[in-house]
Symmetry: C2
Subunit: 279 residues, 2 copies
């Protein structure tokens, strides 16, 4: 590790600090999903604190967030030796596993084949509601009566008009609904923050864990807020694909540390201390 | 001609009398479209009266109907010799020519390829309204926002979501909208009226003209009131295809007379006289 690497790390952490404020519970979920999703994987309070305090998060905020996550059934904690170990519950693991493919998808492999379902009765509308609710990330509610779903039409749905469809034109109003201005702005902001960072230098396990957590956290809040759609659905100013490329270039340059490496790592200097050192 | 032929003709005229009452102007339009659609084609008052009085229509009603048709720009009349000659105006010919292919289509050659247009803005809705208005017989307004049109999507329509579509399921509610109960009932009634007639015997030109007019009149009021759609769109009790087969079997057995034959024909005995003869 060189001082240059540490400077780069500090710059990256500052550049990627979430402009919408940090939700500590969400950062912990990002960390566990990235590095401790497997059954039996867990992290001690001490190691978790070492990983995320460099993001400017206080130990007290971590305790509050862990309390909330336990209450919501996402994580559980066990006493081991002098401290606690925290891990995803089966429910938390399932939730995490569900979104992992979307978060870590390196290329848009968006569906080319679609089918369109149109309701014309109360029963049909209920069916659309149920389908849309259970396929939030893959189906598109075009309007109250209309649902666009990937793949070919499967089971017969006697209440719905069903068409196998190939997209010819996507109008601006639908692009705007699928990629709202706030999401486009967040994505452009992340892309702009990543741009000056360039390639990541080699980093120690703790810094890799810290920065991976931050990057995954920022990226998941973009990628999970829009369906996986090919370029024809994307507004002209959508920076998602440029952003995705930068995210994976960085993650690839920062291989996953092992949980043991994190348990054994020495704490980084706190941000104030780091600032003092640089001053 | 045999008495049997004349009996069959009288039976057919009675069986096919429009249960919804005769609209004389519409019968005249059916006649002109079938036998005098060409430029320069026309029929004298005397011959027209000979063709349609056997349907139980009084000469006075014919005069009133011709007055209405002239007023509406469908027909025009000219004095020739001692009487008048009546013919379609260019406007009437154009209207007639527009529906002729639908009326005389021997097989449902319904579109297999469709495209779906969905509006999401006031501009898009206006565009759908305009398209639907100008393609009443070919496009399907599935709901306020949605128009289904035959063939592949053509020009780019930036305000609309456009999909090339293959129909997978047509629900009962859409079949019901496309083939309403009243239309299904009219069609079943015509089919039932045609069934006992069997094959047409050879008939003289005037009887052929009279019965052709009646059959075309009844059929056009069914065929022009629903879009041309394949079996997958048709309700189970739709008798349209059975009806079409019977209509064309009869028309084929009653070749078009020439207008000259109609001018030279002798009037049939009036219905009362025919009844007297039969009694």
């Amino acid at each position: 590790m060189t001082t240059d690497s540490h400077d780069w790390f500090n710059t990256a952490v500052q550049a990627l600090a979430d402009p919408q404020g940090q939700r500590v519970w969400s950062i912990i979920v990002s960390f566990l999903g990235d590095m401790a999703q497997g059954e039996g994987a867990g992290i001690s309070s001490a190691a978790l604190t070492r990983v995320i305090t460099p993001l400017g998060i206080k130990p007290e905020a971590i305790r509050v967030a862990l309390h909330r996550l336990r209450k919501d059934g996402w994580t559980d904690s066990e006493r081991r030796g002098r401290g606690s170990v925290h891990f995803l519950t089966p429910h938390g693991r399932a939730q995490s596993a569900e979104v992992t493919p979307r978060i870590y998808m390196r290329r848009t492999s968006a569906p080319q084949d679609w089918h369109m379902m149109i309701a014309g009765t109360p029963e049909g509308l209920e069916l659309l509601d149920a389908l849309a609710d259970s396929h939030r990330t893959t189906m598109i509610r075009v309007n109250r009566q209309t649902l666009l779903a990937p793949g070919e039409a499967a089971a017969a749905t006697p209440d719905l008009l069903v068409l196998n469809a190939e997209i010819a034109t996507v109008p601006a109003w639908l692009k705007e609904e699928l990629f709202p201005a706030a999401l486009r702005k967040s994505c452009a902001a992340l892309d702009a923050a990543l741009l000056p960072l360039g390639a990541a230098p080699p980093l120690d396990p703790l810094r890799r864990a810290c920065l991976r957590t931050l990057i995954v956290h920022r990226w998941r809040r973009i990628v999970l807020r829009h369906p996986n759609l090919s370029a024809s659905f994307q507004p002209a100013d959508w920076r998602g694909e440029a952003c995705r490329a930068k995210v994976f270039a960085l993650l690839d340059a920062m291989p996953l540390p092992s949980l043991l490496e994190l348990e054994q790592a020495e704490a980084l200097p706190l941000p104030e201390e780091a600032a003092d050192l640089q001053a």
